[in-house]
C-alpha cells in the first residue's frame, strides 16, 4: 500500500474517531504547550534577574601599562594611544564579540552654555555603541560624524542652568577653534559605562570619535595613518562568552596587533573584566539552565505519558478493525504503516497547536508577572520532536502488537 493511500485512510480514521483524535491531539498540545510555557517563563525570569544584577555590559577593557606593574584599570594614567582602527577591525572579527568601543581623551580649553563659560580640560571621544538605549534619562546617543554630544548627569548640572537634550553647548577645542554641539542625550544616574568609569559624581562629556578625535599613529599592519586610542572596550555578545572572547583577544593584542608594536617595549597589553560580576551572572545562568531543564523534562514526561496512554487505548479499542483489515488482506506492514501515519498526523497537529498555545501561554504568564519576555527556541524544537516522537513510539508499539495478533482473535474482540 502506498503512502498516499495510507495518509488518506489514516485521515479517514482520524476524522471518523473524532473524540479520540481530539483527546490525543489535546494530550500532545498539553505536553508540548506546557514545556514551551514553562521554558519561556524560566527564560524570561532568567533575563529579568540577569538584567537586575548586570549593572554593566559583558565588557573586557584593554589598556597598556608597564609590564609587571599593577593591572592597568580603566582610565589608567599610563595610557598611551596604541590601539589603531586596524586593531579594532581585527578584534571585531573574533567570534562572540558584539562590539569594540574605542575611548580617548580630547584636550579642550573650555565649555560654554548660555553665556556661562567653564574652564575644562578634556572631553571623552567614543562611539555610539558605548551607550545603551535604556541608559538615557533624556534623548539618545550621538551620531557618528555629527556635531553632537552626550553628557552624564553631573556634566548636565555643572552649568548655572541644567542642560537637557536638544540644547546647544559650545566647546572650545583650542584657541580660536570653538564649535557648537547639539546635546543628543543626557545619561541617567545609574549608568555604569565601564569604559569611562561610570556615571559617578565626575562630570563627563562624550563626543563622537569622528570627527573630534584626532590622535593618530601609523599602523604597522597597513602602513596608513589611523586614529589610535589608549583604551578599547571589547563587548562580548553575552556573559557566557566573556571567557571565550578574552583568550583570542589577548593573543591577538599581545602578539599580532598594531598595539603590540606601537607600545614601548617595557609595556604590556592588559585585559581586565569585572570578574566578580561575570562569575555571579554565570552562576545565575547555570542555576536557571538547570531549573529550566528540570521543568522541561518533567513537562515532557507528563506530556509523553499522556500521549502514550491515549495512543495505547486508541489502538486497543480498534483491535477488531485491525482484525477486519487483516482478514481482507492487510499485511502487518500495512497495519503498522496506517497507525504510524495516523500517529504522525496527530503528533504534528498537536505539536503545532501546542507550540502556539505554549508561546501564547508563556507570553501571557511573563506579561502577567511583569517580566521581559524571552524565548528559548532550542527547547521548542526539543518539545516538538518529543511530542511527535512519543506519538509515533506509543502508536507504533501497540499497532505492531495488534498487527501480530491472530486475526481470528482480533475479529472476536468486542
Amino acid at each position: 500500500m502506498n503512502v498516499l493511500e495510507s495518509v488518506r485512510m489514516s485521515w479517514r480514521a482520524i476524522t471518523g474517531h473524532r473524540l479520540r483524535s481530539v483527546l490525543t491531539v489535546l494530550g500532545v498540545v498539553i505536553g508540548v504547550g506546557s514545556v514551551i510555557t514553562f521554558v519561556t517563563l524560566g527564560a524570561s525570569l532568567q533575563a529579568a534577574i540577569v538584567g537586575d544584577v548586570a549593572t554593566s555590559s559583558p565588557d573586557i577593557a584593554a589598556t597598556v601599562g608597564p609590564a609587571g606593574g599593577p593591572e592597568g584599570g580603566p582610565g589608567s594614567a599610563e595610557s598611551i594611544p596604541v590601539f589603531t582602527e586596524h586593531d579594532i577591525e581585527q578584534l571585531q572579527g573574533i567570534e562572540g564579540v558584539d562590539a569594540v568601543i574605542p575611548t580617548g581623551q580630547v584636550g579642550i580649553a573650555g565649555l560654554e552654555y548660555r553665556d556661562d563659560r567653564i574652564r575644562w580640560p578634556a572631553v571623552t571621544a567614543t562611539t555610539a555603541a558605548s551607550f545603551d538605549e535604556d541608559e538615557f534619562a533624556d534623548g539618545g546617543p550621538f551620531t557618528a560624524g555629527a556635531n553632537e554630544t552626550v553628557l552624564n548627569p553631573a556634566a548636565a548640572r555643572m552649568f548655572e542652568r541644567n542642560v537637557s537634550a536638544g540644547d546647544e553647548i559650545t566647546v572650545e577645542f583650542a584657541e580660536n577653534d570653538s564649535r557648537t554641539l547639539t546635546v543628543a542625550g543626557v545619561l541617567n544616574e545609574s549608568t555604569g559605562f565601564a569604559a569611562v568609569g561610570g556615571g559617578g559624581g565626575t562630570p563627563a562629556i562624550y563626543v563622537p570619535t569622528d570627527p573630534f578625535y584626532t590622535t593618530t599613529a601609523e599602523s604597522p599592519a597597513t602602513g596608513e595613518r589611523q586614529r589610535a586610542y589608549p583604551q578599547l572596550t571589547i563587548r562580548a555578545a553575552s556573559y557566557e562568552q566573556v571567557g571565550a572572547v578574552e583568550g583570542p583577544a589577548r593573543d591577538y593584542l599581545r602578539n599580532e596587533s598594531d598595539a603590540s608594536q606601537l607600545k614601548p617595549a617595557s609595556y604590556e597589553v592588559s585585559l581586565t573584566t569585572n570578574d566578580a560580576l561575570v562569575e555571579q551572572i554565570q552562576g545565575i545562568l547555570s542555576t536557571f539552565t538547570n531549573f529550566i531543564t528540570g521543568i522541561a523534562v518533567i513537562s515532557l514526561l507528563v506530556g509523553a505519558i499522556g500521549i502514550a496512554n491515549m495512543m495505547l487505548v486508541s489502538v486497543t479499542e480498534r483491535t477488531r478493525e485491525i482484525g477486519i483489515m487483516k482478514a481482507v488482506g492487510a499485511t502487518r506492514r500495512d497495519v503498522v504503516q496506517l497507525f504510524l501515519v495516523e500517529s504522525i498526523i496527530l503528533g504534528v497537529i498537536g505539536s503545532v497547536l501546542g507550540t502556539v498555545v505554549g508561546l501564547a501561554g508563556g507570553y501571557a504568564a511573563a506579561e502577567l508577572i511583569d517580566l521581559p519576555v524571552s524565548f528559548a527556541p532550542e527547547w521548542f524544537a526539543i518539545a516538538i520532536a518529543v511530542g511527535v516522537g512519543v506519538g509515533i513510539v506509543s502508536g507504533i508499539y501497540p499497532a505492531w502488537d495488534a498487527a501480530r495478533t491472530d486475526p481470528i482473535d482480533a475479529l472476536r474482540h468486542e
Binding site: M9, R12, G16, H17, M325, A327, V328, G329
Partner: protein, 239 residues
C-alpha cells in the same frame, strides 16, 4: 492445476488448553470444486470454525496440507499467506465486520486497496459490485446507516472485490430475520449460479439445504458428506 478451488489432505489442528490437548480437526480430507456450493454443519465444538479459518488462511493446520487454488498454504510465510488471503479468499461474517468509519463503497474498496489496485479502478469495481448486490443507492452510507441485510450485502460485495477463488461465509444469516435471511441466501444462489465457489458454515439445516452438499463435522472428523437431492431455493422459502 486441478479444478478444485480448495483441497484439504488429512488436516489436523491441535490446541493445547491447559494440560489438555484438543483436536479441533482430526484428519479432515475434503475437495471443494470450483463453482461448487458447500455447507458445513455440526454442533458447537465440532471444528466448523477451525475448518473455516484453515481454509481462509487465517489459521495454519498442525499437520496436513491445505491447497488454495493449487498453492500449498502451509508452505507460505505469514506475509505470503496474507497476500493469498487478500487475493483468493472472500470472507462473509455473521457480525458483518465492516469498518464502521467507512462508507459502503470504501468498505468494498478495502481489499483492493491492500492489493494495490488503483483508485479509479477500485471505485469503478466497488460501484459495480454494490449495484450487483442491489445497493446502488446506498453506496455512500456508513454501516450504521444500513439495515442488517444491507450490511451483509456490503460484506458480500467486499468478499467478491478481488474475484476470489472461494467465498467463505460463517453463519452469514445468523444475525438476520427470516425475510432478510431468504434475500441473502438468494444472493448466494445467484453468485453461485454466476460461477462463484461458496463455502458456508451454519448450524441451521434450513440454511444448509440451499447448498449442493452438506459436510457434517463431528469431533473434528467428517462424519458424512450429504448430497442434497432437492436443493432448497431461496425463492420458494420466501413464498
Amino acid at each position: 492445476m486441478t479444478d478444485a478451488a480448495v483441497e484439504l489432505h488429512d488436516v489436523r489442528k491441535t490446541y493445547r488448553m491447559g494440560d489438555q490437548t484438543v483436536h479441533a480437526l482430526d484428519g479432515v480430507s475434503l475437495t471443494i470444486g470450483r463453482g461448487s456450493y458447500t455447507a458445513v454443519m455440526g454442533p458447537s465444538g465440532s471444528g466448523k470454525s477451525t475448518l473455516m479459518n484453515v481454509v481462509g488462511c487465517l489459521d495454519t493446520p498442525t499437520e496436513g496440507v491445505v491447497e488454495v487454488d493449487g498453492v500449498d498454504v502451509t508452505e507460505l510465510s505469514d506475509a505470503e499467506r496474507t497476500g493469498l488471503r487478500g487475493d483468493e479468499i472472500g470472507f462473509v461474517f455473521q457480525t458483518f465486520n465492516l469498518m464502521p468509519q467507512q462508507t459502503a463503497r470504501e468498505n468494498v474498496e478495502l481489499p483492493m486497496t491492500f492489493q494495490g489496485v488503483g483508485r479509479s479502478e477500485r471505485r469503478e469495481r466497488a460501484t459495480e459490485l454494490l449495484e450487483s448486490v442491489g445497493l446502488g443507492d446506498r453506496m455512500d452510507h456508513k454501516p450504521n446507516e444500513l439495515s442488517g441485510g444491507q450490511r451483509q450485502r456490503v460484506a458480500i460485495a467486499r468478499a467478491l472485490a478481488n474475484d476470489p477463488a472461494i467465498v467463505l461465509a460463517d453463519e452469514p444469516t445468523g444475525n438476520l430475520d427470516s425475510d432478510t435471511e431468504a434475500d441473502i441466501l438468494a444472493l448466494f444462489e445467484e453468485l453461485n449460479a454466476a460461477g462463484n465457489t461458496i463455502l458456508t458454515v451454519t448450524h441451521e439445516r434450513l440454511v444448509a439445504e440451499h447448498a449442493e452438499r452438506i459436510v457434517h463435522l463431528f469431533d473434528g472428523e467428517i462424519e458424512e458428506i450429504e448430497e442434497i437431492a432437492e436443493r432448497r431455493i431461496a425463492g420458494e422459502a420466501n413464498r
